[in-house]
Homo-oligomer: 166 residues x 2
Amino acid sequence: MQYKEGKEKFIKTWGELGTNWGINKTMGQIHGLLLISTSEVTTDDIMKELHISRGNVNMNLRSLVEWELIHKIEKPGDRKDYYKAEKDIWTVFRQIIKKRKEKELHPMINLLEDVSAIEAKDEKSAEFLKMMNELSLFSNKADKTLDNLVSSRANILVSTYMKFTR
Amino acid sequence: MQYKEGKEKFIKTWGELGTNWGINKTMGQIHGLLLISTSEVTTDDIMKELHISRGNVNMNLRSLVEWELIHKIEKPGDRKDYYKAEKDIWTVFRQIIKKRKEKELHPMINLLEDVSAIEAKDEKSAEFLKMMNELSLFSNKADKTLDNLVSSRANILVSTYMKFTR
DNA sequence: ACAATTGTTCAAATAATAATGGATTTATGC
DNA sequence: GCATAAATCCATTATTATTTGAACAATTGT
């Protein structure tokens, strides 16, 4: 396989993967492109490479920066913006977990707390409360577990471990 | 808050959550409805409750059965199909992990293996291979970790643990 | 101050995804 | 085996999400 083919396959697949992680296809493709770039890239580089419009690139770059998956680099004496990806995979993973926790887990935890306020006056509401309680226990446990994963030095531990288990 | 309101909020939120987990909105809502039902439900029950068409219910019930998040129940002397949800949250979670692993992680692992076949003949391809290797290490580690999570008796352990950490 | 370059916004167009509802198939009781 | 009820399929329609591109704003060098 040639480099070019591999690159294209990777970008395509990375984009598809993104759609399952709260990252849309183009956003994923841009991220994939930056991940394998040896140098910083500009909006025009991306437009040319992925055949997408300036507006699209701009919006998705903003999202990626917001997710802290890429970094903007301003060069003195150059009015272009340059971007480079966070290349530490573990950090990328943690960033995504962090974002998804905010977007998904927390609203659910809040909801479960809210709806626990109903009265258990019959079988239906009793069953409902029972399920809400189980979901609460689970969600809160998951929240804590993910916090550990994200905030801890697990980074180093896993990176080291990985070297021995490939 | 009344039961009815709580129920509606839960179903709505569960549906929205689903969209982030490879489960579409309606599929999530049906799952939510079954999760809090005290008895087995039929297609007509769901149509009435969620105001959606028979075809839609049918398609999504099939997906839910395929994901093993709900079970079909056939009653002798009754030609209707009944459904009930898997109510053990840990099992639900494991089922979703299992499905997503197949759908997302495995294609990625395969891709990474494929593209590792390119030659490292210049800086770009060397960098590319380096990143593919890091992603491989990470993906394979994740795969194994999730396997443990899904297949092991962690079920019992976590359920027990959860009782003490709420 | 002006021209040139780059970045940003957003309404409209397009594409992707999901839902409908009628046609068809399947299963069951009589 | 026939009538009927339920399930399934799927072409069409509706909805939602994404992309475009042109207008506008910001920045910098001259």
